[in-house]
């Protein structure tokens, strides 16, 4: 069953008929999504995914561990139905896949070692060793916006922050929430410094041309924002943050 020649070309129909939604995520990006003590995926993305499946009328969610380097190809290859792993909506990615309406906003922070006082923001990153997660928008950001950056790519943010804490990289570009969560939980000797580099608007991705799926997903997300479900989920995982409120603040062009 190498090539995925499904009975129908509609991802939604297939998922419904199988009763399973195949959701890809890194499982290594707390608090968005990660494995808990029993090796079960948990986090903001995971709760959103379960809620979404319920609203799509699909009974079961199958979580597929993957990584940023593989999401786009994977969803194009129908290896999974949807990626719910905080992917930033970009024009380049839009050429490859379709995005849902935004379901989370994220800010990228610069994390440095706790003793580091020389790096205070974007300007002081020039020529430094910058840790990023491979295949993320931060990797691309570092490549294009930081002159002379020596970019080090990692499979996940945990590894990137660990190396910053140990001094094998000077700074990491990581989601504000994630960095804070990891630093706290694992006693990583890192801290956020300076202003947010940029605010990212994240969506779910699926194969191009799945209009029915996109319509149903967008509707479900709008409903979740409207009825407070999303706020409840975000408060639980993101230190009390109301994600629905953040999403409402987005300028019209980005609101999807």
């Amino acid at each position: 069953t190498g090539c995925s020649a499904a009975a129908s070309d509609s991802t939604l129909d297939n998922a419904r008929s199988k009763g399973t939604l195949r959701v890809a995520l890194t499982q290594a990006n707390p608090p968005w999504n990660f494995l808990d003590g029993d090796n079960e995926p948990v986090g903001y993305d995971v709760d959103v995914a379960r809620e979404l499946a319920k609203r799509l009328g699909i009974g079961k969610v199958e979580f597929v561990g993957s990584d940023f380097g593989s999401f786009i190809e994977g969803v194009r290859a129908n290896r999974f139905d949807i990626v719910i792993s905080g992917q930033t909506i970009t024009a380049e990615r839009r050429q490859q896949v379709d995005f849902s309406r935004p379901y989370e906003v994220n800010g990228i922070s610069v994390f440095v070692g706790t003793g580091n006082t020389s790096i205070t923001g974007l300007a002081s990153l020039k020529g430094r060793r910058i840790a990023v997660t491979e295949g993320t928008t931060q990797a691309e950001y570092a490549r294009t916006k930081i002159p002379g950056a020596r970019i080090k790519t990692y499979k996940n943010a945990t590894l990137a922050l660990t190396d910053v804490g140990q001094g094998r990289a000077d700074a990491a570009l990581v989601s504000k929430f994630q960095g804070a969560y990891l630093a706290d939980k694992n006693d990583l000797r890192v801290k956020a410094t300076g202003a947010l580099l940029e605010t990212e608007v994240n969506g779910m991705t699926f194969r191009k041309g799945q209009q029915d799926l996109k319509g149903k997903v967008d509707k479900a997300l709008n409903d979740m924002i409207g009825d407070g479900t999303l706020s409840a989920i975000s408060r639980r995982w993101l230190g009390g943050l109301d994600m629905a409120a953040e999403l409402r603040k987005l300028p019209a062009g980005q609101a999807g």
Binding site: G2, L35, S70, R76, A77, N78
Partner: protein, 215 residues
């Protein structure tokens, strides 16, 4: 080591995947390798040239690139393959390049008189290969083939690069979620070592068995 106890079922499942990758690609690699080895000693120039090129390319480039080419590159040509089949495909192609050389050496080592005796009976080419040449060639080729099997077992760790959750990936995941990389990797390494030591022993026994007729 409580870490290990907790994650034992995961590790066991991952070890299953490692064994699956190793065994399946080895079996397929042997089949393909035997064919390429035969092509390599064929009288047909074209076949021979293709075999030489195949071996040179697949032995001359890193397996990691071959695996990623299959998984990330082929979709550009509209060929979409799942992670485990991708890994098996790349491992098979890679191993076959090496195995073909082992088979070739084994076949060349079979005395010409054996071919002539079979020919003089009017035995058809393929039946002769199977019944006369192969059993003798395999005996010569067994030690390097065994080493290749072991190398392949270790090479399966590269499947982690294309999201296959085999031993190495499992250890990495456990390590990065518990910050106890050392233990996680050591346990995985021990698992590989056990598999490979068992393979070595098995190979020794097989060599003795095949050598029986020649004692």
């Amino acid at each position: 080591m409580d870490l290990i106890v907790r994650d034992f079922p995961d590790l066991l499942r991952a070890m299953g995947v490692t064994l699956l990758l190793g065994v399946v690609s080895f079996v397929l690699g042997c089949i393909l390798g035997a064919l390429v080895g035969l092509a390599r000693i064929s009288r047909f120039r074209l076949l021979k040239g293709l075999a030489i090129a195949y071996v040179s390319v697949f032995r001359g480039t890193p397996l990691l690139i071959q695996i990623m080419l299959v998984y990330y590159g082929l979709p550009q040509l509209g060929i979409l393959i799942e992670p485990i089949p991708s890994a098996i495909l790349a491992l098979t192609l890679y191993a076959a390049a090496y195995l073909s050389e082992n088979f070739r050496a084994g076949i060349i080592a079979v005395d010409r008189g054996q071919w002539e005796a079979a020919h003089s009976m009017g035995m058809p080419y393929w039946r002769m290969l199977r019944r006369i040449v192969a059993p003798q060639a395999i005996r010569v080729a067994l030690p390097p083939i065994g080493s290749r099997f072991i190398a392949l077992m270790k090479d399966t760790s590269l499947a982690s690069a294309v999201t296959v959750v085999e031993l190495t990936r499992a250890a990495e995941t456990i390590g990065s979620s518990t910050f106890r990389y050392m233990e996680a990797f050591l346990v995985a390494a021990a698992a590989y070592w056990l598999i490979n030591t068992a393979l070595s022993l098995g190979q020794g026994a097989l060599e003795r068995r095949l050598g029986r007729a020649y004692a």
